[in-house]
């Protein structure tokens, strides 16, 4: 089970979502992707997308206005 971090700090929509989708393509089932974001819209559209395709998502607030979205690839 690999773990990968994707730095999207300072990026605005839809860049974090597109980067996340690309990164997920190259990962195996069971792998975990941690996306660092500081754009609040990405806190909605990334989990919305990931859940809609069936991945497990968790959001962690790491600082004021900064989050980690933890996605485990399920299929």
């Amino acid at each position: 089970m690999a773990e990968k971090t994707l730095d999207c700090l300072g990026e605005a929509c839809p860049v974090p979502l597109v980067k996340t989708q690309k990164a997920m393509e190259s990962m195996a089932v069971g792998d975990v992707l941690i996306v660092n974001i500081d754009h609040s819209c990405a806190m909605k559209n990334i989990p919305d997308w990931a859940r809609s395709v069936g991945h497990v998502v968790e959001i962690e607030e790491v600082a004021e206005g900064e989050w980690n979205i933890i996605i485990q690839k399920m299929k």
Binding site: G10, E11, P14, V15, V18, K19, S40, G65
Partner: protein, 175 residues
């Protein structure tokens, strides 16, 4: 008691993002209220154009001789009488308040020089486009729909097709 339980009101109403449905209903209500209270159609870039003209006039440039400022000269511009301009200031103050109440305020670092250029060029193009078409997504859409104006729907179709093409270009050339 956990922190979340203790500050339940804060967590539910100020911190957690509202649903798209809640947002849509509130936007529609406030859009209507704005017309009732101010009696004006709100546009963002109209006042921004006036502010730009005002700054240029302070720098000694005679903008009032330009065609764009013929109808509303900068010399007689009074921001306190420009209700759409005050709404613009209100929306910035309101957004700041919301993000502070949610404890999510952050000054973002610039990721790269490429992003800086994209922001400057994007802003310029948006500004020019919005002024030539006499309105942005507020004046041409948000204000138009509650007034049952056809131009709002035409704008809606156009901006969606533009955004669709734009995102394809973004993915292809910018990432």
């Amino acid at each position: 008691m956990s922190e979340k339980k203790k500050y339940q009101f804060h967590e539910l109403y100020l911190k957690k993002e509202w649903s798209y449905q809640t947002g849509a209903v509130l936007l529609a209500l406030f859009s209507l209220a704005l017309v009732i209270v101010t009696g004006k159609s709100w546009g963002v870039t109209g006042p921004l154009g006036m502010w730009g003209g005002w700054i240029l006039s302070k720098l000694g440039i005679a903008v009032d001789t330009w065609a764009g400022f013929k109808a509303t000269p900068v010399a007689s511009y009074d921001i306190w009488k420009d209700l759409p301009a005050l709404t613009n200031i209100g929306i910035v103050v309101g957004a700041l308040l919301a993000v502070l109440l949610a404890a999510q305020f952050k000054i973002k670092k610039l990721k790269s020089i490429k992003n800086l250029w994209a922001a400057i060029l994007g802003g310029l193009l948006m500004g020019i486009g919005a002024r030539i078409s006499l309105g942005c997504n507020i004046g041409a859409f948000f204000t138009a729909l509650p007034a049952f104006s056809l131009h709002g729907w035409i704008f809606w179709i156009s901006i969606f097709s533009g955004a669709a093409v734009g995102s394809k270009l973004l993915v292809k050339y910018f990432m």
